[in-house]
């Protein structure tokens, strides 16, 4: 009864930036269908009169004092980067040349 198609999963994988293999897409299409069928039951009780809760212990206007405090050094910030160029993160081309 699931409406999830392989094309949809491929599209979602593209949106999520994960290169899935054809095999993974096939498996996930079946699994996702089963999971979605099962979780769709939330709609049974989610009537219009029920407000949504996004946060279990809501807080508002959480600010800190506007003062300068020590932060990471450039070296610390770059310490885990897979590639760097001097004081900058180095990344592959943003745009495809074609």
């Amino acid at each position: 009864m699931s409406e999830i198609t392989a094309e949809q999963v491929a599209h979602l994988a593209n949106l999520a930036r994960i290169d899935l293999s054809a095999e993974e897409i096939t498996r996930l299409t079946t699994e996702l269908g089963q999971i979605v069928d099962s979780v769709a039951k939330v709609a049974e009780v989610a009537t219009p009169d029920v407000p949504a809760t996004s946060h279990p212990m809501p807080l508002t206007n959480v600010f800190r004092a506007d003062t300068v405090v020590p932060s990471l050094t450039v070296e610390q910030a770059l310490s885990g980067a897979p590639d760097r160029d001097g004081d900058k993160f180095r990344v592959p081309a943003i745009l495809d040349e074609e």
């Binding site: 899935l20 699994e31 996702l32 979780v39 939330v42 049974e44 279990p56 990471l72 885990g80 495809d96």
Partner: protein
Amino acid sequence: MANVIKLSAADLSGLLSDRSVSSVEVTQAHLDRIDAIDTGVHAFLHVAGEAALAAAARIDARRAAGEVLGPLAGVPIAIKDVLATIDMPSTAGSKILEGWIPPYDATVVRRVRDAGLIPLGKTNMDEFAMGSSTEFSAYGPTHNPWDFDRIPGGSGGGSAAAVSSFEAPLALGSDTGGSIRQPAAVTGSVGVKPTYGGVSRYGSIALASSLDQVGPVTRTVLDAALLHDVIGGHDPLDSTSLTDTWPSMAAAARAGLADGALKGVRVGVVTELNGDGFQSGVSQRFTETLALLAAAGAEIVEVSAPNFEYAIAAYYLILPAEASSNLARFDSVRFGIRVNPEDGPLTSERVMAATRDAGFGPEVKRRIILGTYALSAGYYDAYYGSAQKVRTLIQRDFEAAFAKVDVLVSPSAPTTAFKFGEKMADPMAMYLNDVTTIPANLAGIPGMSLPMGLAPEDGLPVGLQIMAPAKMDARLYSFGAAVEALLEASWGRTLLSQAPELAPKAMSAGTASTSTEGAV
């Protein structure tokens, strides 16, 4: 000296403060234990032996100089790999962060160090805390100390196995849908998920930000309370951290040991969290525990929480939605591995997609895709929006229940530890394992698991879950300590004293991998 690894943190605290034992001795004893048995258990992904001994020596020196230190100063602790540590790799059980050493400590890690505790190393977990068995760790599963063929629970199976196999008296865990409480249940240990916002999440690698909560993993209720007192309280670095002043949880636990502490306590039994789908030995131990409570003067009240039926469905929409967003930060630019695509142009987007394909395991991919789907235009209201409404309904169920009772109880998990591989082929079967623990996370209330016996059919530990209203964590500790004392009096011993002795280097975990200091 008696075998120090078998002592509780509270007992170690006494011996350390009157200097009848040194922190170096205690730390060395635990490192020896890890060396002897962790090849089989595989609770640790990284052991920081030298750094631990150096930290222990500093504590001993300060004590020798007459400094008065906190109650847990010098006591070793294991740290779940989801927490950032400035001197140890922090991978969250994922290949994508293999070898990553963060440039900062999580607030809870900082507080543990400031209180003089001795970090022993980092513990294994399901990748990014997604799982109930540690089978989704990229570094091989942790084995349950009660039976190496069975899961230690998850995601915090490493922390629970470390304390229950006497590799550490204390550990830190994180609980998004049961990742502290369910491992505690299946390993015969104690675990607490504090009120949401009661303990800082700063430096905890985020899974689902509105559900995640860091908490103590121990062998006794008092030890959990002592650790809670160290890690809890407001943290300006976490914008969801509560600014409340908290009472001493240790004092609350000690108050629970007073005579008659259970008299007149109204204990609510959640109808929906027992019965069908629960293993018979689990239900049996639960029923027996209720009888003990009643005999001790507690008033047992049946309460219904009709919307709990929808909790798993809501959770498996909210969690993947938040996770898919949180895990977008693994983009192959700022930290973690970078993998180039096998062919085609090397653009940032294509490198990011190849990296995430290589770096994420099957459960992480499944949940990111599910979350991306739940948040898609056209589906958002039906799925994510409806799940948030269910969250309101579950909070209302709790409010109605706590209007009638002081605490709620249920089994911590529907079954004892299952065998490796049993639920790997069916994601929904794995998800259903969290039925008992998820409601507390959705509502933000505190929950505890403590051992309530061994199931007669398999001889494996069964956990009792206790839940209290939001911010009433102290009540959990008073009630929990009283129940623990009652149960141990009825057994004439602790539950963990019945666990099998683990022979040194007895078993090889095969695929297990643990980094040692320096080898990252």
